[in-house]
């Protein structure tokens, strides 16, 4: 798996310089929305790596090399986790530093970082199985659909729970700080074996 991860990093660093600069910029911009944007962006890096694999036909060669289907699948998850972790860490450090320089009204707490990190993991867990089954082109459609559902569903949830009152109720807070991480763990645990099965199905199709 280390070899595959290394290969993806070599490819992404070379191909995605501007993309990586944007991730760094969004990570350090003040405000949680920008951090979430950077983290979601990072969650998309495995699809980019898969698209390059497809373009170079690497997947055909890899199927004949001493990589197990588990290696091939896990390397993409690990890439996503590393990228999401990197953006989260960068945002956290930037938040702490900015908190010292922006005198008032700036929320420098790290409370939003864990849920943001977990949203990145959820995105990876939900979107990678269809990518392994249908390829990146068709899989991306699924990703767009997911984003629309999450955006509408999230807005609806907040609107329904918070209503016109600006105060965030304790239940929603509890869901964000406990429910989202739990959901990330459960979805990841289900997603990995599903992706391995999808990869095998596509490979032997």
């Amino acid at each position: 798996m280390k070899a595959l991860l290394k290969k993806d990093i070599f490819v992404l660093i070379r191909q995605m310089r501007m993309f990586l600069v944007m991730i760094v910029v969004f990570s350090v911009l003040p405000g949680m929305n920008m951090s979430i944007f950077a983290i979601v962006y990072c969650g998309m890096l495995p699809y980019t790596a898969m698209a390059y694999d497809e373009r170079s036909k690497w997947t055909q060669l890899a199927a004949m090399m001493p990589y197990t289907p588990g290696d091939i699948v896990l390397s993409k998850y690990a890439l996503g986790w590393l990228a999401v972790g990197f953006a989260t860490a960068l945002s956290a450090v930037a938040n702490l530093i900015l908190g010292h320089f922006i005198p008032s009204g700036y929320d420098s707490s790290l409370s939003g970082m864990l849920p943001s990190f977990c949203i990145g993991l959820i995105m990876i867990a939900v979107t990678l199985p269809p990518m392994f089954r249908f390829g990146v082109e068709k899989g991306r459609m699924f990703f767009i659909l997911l984003i629309v559902v999450l955006a509408c569903g999230g807005a609806g949830l907040v609107q329904g729970v918070v209503g016109s009152d600006e105060e965030v109720p304790a239940a929603l807070n509890a869901f964000i700080s406990l429910g989202v991480p739990a959901l990330a763990v459960v979805l990841t645990a289900v997603s990995i074996p599903l992706s391995v099965a999808m990869y095998k199905r596509q490979k032997y199709a």
């Binding site: 280390k2 070899a3 595959l4 290394k6 290969k7 070599f10 490819v11 070379r14 191909q15 390059y52 694999d53 373009r55 170079s56 036909k57 690497w58 055909q60 060669l61 199927a63 004949m64 090399m65 001493p66 990589y67 197990t68 490979k203 032997y204």
Partner: protein
């Protein structure tokens, strides 16, 4: 022991099928897998490496069933070169070496660097800027740098100029000086296979038409050049293919079945294959 053994292998894709493929590559031998485009050569190679699952039949590589978990370890002993290198185009040779060092347990960086020097491959030039010859040389350097016992080459010499092809064939010939090393090499450049191989396997429309020692094939078949009127004098069972022109006929025959009254020329492998394919089309 056979380096590769396929028994009654079938694989259907709807409009194309590999049918009842029985094939063996003895250890220490070089076998050329020949056939026109779409004959099933690449599919056969994917089946051998378990990148495709057969509908039925058994395949073993270096004595291990390729559907078994142990086959994962056998892949360490197999060097693969496909018709293109299939490495991401933004990698350079140095990075490819670094990735392969974490892929193969017996990766030998010194051997790899030796091949890069021998092939004049710049280690830091991006793969996308390589010529086709350089691309294939890189793939061959990778395949030979982890001490393989078996090389599987899919159209590894196609599209290369004769000088590079000759250089690469020489390298394969060096590889098989070790009696434990074997090569399966698919190509539609029959002259390359004829130069290098001990065995020739001819695949046509997904079926193995023959797999035999190259010299035995040359001994078995011959070509008779005669007038069209003389065709009837040849025993029907001896005739494998006929090529007619306004000036006469050339006939691929089984030497043993033709009387000494006919002058029989030596047939090369390309003649044999062309006559067999044309014979079938004209039938």
């Amino acid at each position: 022991m056979n380096a590769i053994e396929m028994k009654h292998v079938n694989k259907s894709f709807g409009d194309f099928a590999i049918q009842n493929l029985d094939f063996a590559l003895p250890q220490g031998a070089i076998c050329g897998l020949v056939g026109e485009n779409g004959a099933g050569k690449s599919t056969t190679i994917r089946l051998i490496m378990h990148a495709l699952r057969p509908d039925s039949g058994e395949i073993s590589v270096l004595g291990v069933d390729n559907a078994s978990p142990e086959f994962q370890q056998v892949k360490e002993d197999v060097g693969i070169v496909l018709d293109e290198a299939y490495y991401p185009e933004t990698l350079n040779a140095k990075q490819v070496g670094s990735v392969m060092a974490d892929t193969y347990q017996r990766w030998d960086a010194a051997v790899y660097e030796g091949y890069l020097k021998r092939f004049d491959l710049p280690p830091k030039k991006f793969f996308k800027d390589y010529s086709r010859g350089m691309t294939m040389k890189l793939a061959i350097a990778v395949a030979l740098s982890h001490s393989p016992r078996l090389l599987i080459l899919d159209e590894a010499t196609s599209g290369l100029d004769p000088i590079v092809r000759d250089e690469i064939l020489e390298l394969f010939s060096e590889f098989t000086r070790d009696p434990g090393h074997s090569i399966l090499m698919s190509s539609h450049i029959v002259s390359d296979l004829e130069k290098l191989c001990d065995y020739i396997a001819f695949l046509h429309k997904g079926q193995l038409r023959f797999c035999a020692e190259k010299d035995a094939l040359r001994d078995e078949y011959g070509i008779v050049s005669c007038a069209k009127a003389q065709l009837a004098d040849l025993p029907a069972e001896a005739v494998c293919g006929v090529e007619q022109s306004p000036y006469g006929a050339r006939v691929l025959v089984r030497r043993a079945l033709v009387s000494s009254a006919f002058q029989i020329e030596r047939a090369n492998i390309e003649d044999i294959i062309l006559f067999l394919v044309k014979g079938e089309k004209n039938a």
